[in-house]
Symmetry: C2
């Protein structure tokens, strides 16, 4: 059985899902749905594009609808709305609002016998999984999550709002000495400033006051004031050449002890080094879309997260093959 | 509800389980079972010791029996036998025989409405989980597993069988340059010799021919002949002081690409650095014992592996709390 996939929202994430589905032998991309004029959208694989407003007409022809909108404005309403008609999966990443989003999606899924998996990706997602595993296995210990080196879209956007800034990109960078201390099992207590630095690349408008821009960035509350921030100005051509990618990654570490006296130290580390944040997130979504399809086929309904999905559902091989090849 | 745990087999692993259960607030260790004379076995926490031959009398008084015997001689018969009476969990680690062991345990579990989780630990176990995740998320890519730096009991035993050797310990060590190449996404093809080296610490009998011992070790087929091996002789006192621990660890890496043209590289790395191999394995067993109890309470029976267990069952907090705290 080929799993019939639909994509709702066609930006970087949607295109990432399209290419990940293209490479999954057990899946077929049926259609892409957009709020824009479908006639103006061209897909990578030539798959047809339709109006998102009419997606409900596709009920029964799509096994899993992968929602590729944003967490701020799209997913809080889209995921519950579309769960009325489809098995849905999203990458909702506003950590503080996950319980609320879960409740909204769960209600619709239960009323319509559908399945939804929310907050799938790497954080929330694979990083969450590793935080859970670390605490479950080493109850005596400390958690550490570091992000980067990678592009923060939110911080890049914040810089672009500074007067005189034409374009900008911000990289979040873990402090190497902090990472080393954690890896060595030293269990340091780390302030915000001690965990990450922020590196900004800025294209200024012609004649702009560079000192004023730098000060505005470095003193910006919430975004930069609590960090050691460096600001680099560069010309537009160099910016376009050297800062085109969307790399990201990070590390989740659990450092704990075992034994009656806590004598033995253990460090569990999960690390991602990603050339393309959206394409990797898309790849995680597609693996969990496989799980969503299989679980729904078994009669499972309601809202789920990565915590609820047994690994066996993610891999295309049969359980027997998985045990033989991978265990 | 407190989960009532029993331990079958009281060596390094059994003691590790005892201290891990001691630190788990939702669990209580009911009894330890041994094939030795119970009167001669003293536990770390003072929990009573009983004859393993009479363990079936404890049916209904133990929720999960954690089997701490060896994979070569104990578990292939013990796990199926004890699954007749109890929800069981083991760390069976003979990779090639897992399908057979699974079938044997599954048959007994289904006939007796019990649950068994086999091959729990870090390899098989957490490493297997990461191999599965890596392949599921990045289908275009390569797997790498490195072990060490850590003690291989099998290789240490092999050295001890060489004439003139009084005691020995062997460390498996990943080749740093190979690891670096893999981490950089270079996807190298690595021979056995290029992945690991073997470092041996040997206490020789008085008057033994050291050159002959060294040659016997380095040319030993299967164990050492395919590796770059170093042999260090040392006196018994130094050996006891410096090689008393059982550290281990290793790395699972998935290196793959995404995008229509495979332009973007991604590296997923899971790394363990363990002071005590048996205590860490025990900690994994205890987390999965929690899952076994919860799944059996939901009516699930049959044989399972780490692939079949949704993460939510491993952590003591409720699903709601997990989503709020960890996702």
């Amino acid at each position: 059985m080929t799993i019939r996939i639909g994509i709702a929202g066609y930006g970087n994430l949607g295109r990432g899902v399209e290419s990940a589905v293209h490479k999954s032998k057990d899946m077929e991309l049926v259609a892409v749905f957009t709020r824009r004029d479908p006639a103006g959208v061209k897909t990578l694989t030539g798959v047809p594009v339709h109006d998102l407003a009419k997606v409900s007409e596709w009920k029964g022809r799509i096994d899993v609808l992968i929602l590729c909108g944003g967490s701020a404005n799209d997913l809080p309403t889209q995921t519950p709305e579309l769960a009325e008609f489809f098995t849905v999966i999203d990458s909702f990443d506003t950590h503080a609002k996950i319980p609320e989003h879960f409740a909204n999606v769960d209600k619709v899924c239960r009323a319509n016998d559908t399945l939804g998996i929310i907050s799938v990706g790497w954080d929330p997602g694979l990083f969450s999984l590793n935080r859970l595993l670390g605490q479950a296995i080493l109850p005596d210990g400390n958690d550490y999550t570091f992000w980067g080196r990678g592009v923060s879209q939110g911080h890049s956007d914040a810089i672009r709002r500074v007067p005189g800034v034409k374009d900008a990109r911000q990289y979040t960078i873990p402090v190497e000495s902090a990472l080393t201390a954690v890896r060595e099992g030293k269990n340091p207590v780390l302030s915000t400033r001690e965990k990450h630095t922020r590196e900004c690349f800025v294209v200024a408008e012609e004649g702009a006051d560079l000192d004023a821009i730098e000060t505005a960035i470095k003193t910006m509350p919430n975004y930069f004031a609590d960090y050691d921030t460096t600001v680099n100005f560069l010309d537009e051509e160099t910016f376009r050449r050297e800062h085109v990618g969307i790399p990201h990654g990070g590390v989740v570490i659990r450092s704990g002890t075992t034994g009656m006296d806590g004598d033995n130290k253990h460090v569990i580390e999960f690390k991602l080094n990603l050339d393309s944040n959206p394409e990797f997130t898309a790849s995680v979504l597609v693996a969990y879309a496989r799980a969503a399809y299989r679980l729904r086929s078994e009669g499972v309904t309601g809202c789920k997260t990565v915590f609820d999905i047994a690994p066996v559902y993610l891999h295309p091989a049969s359980p027997e093959e998985q045990r033989k090849m991978l265990l």
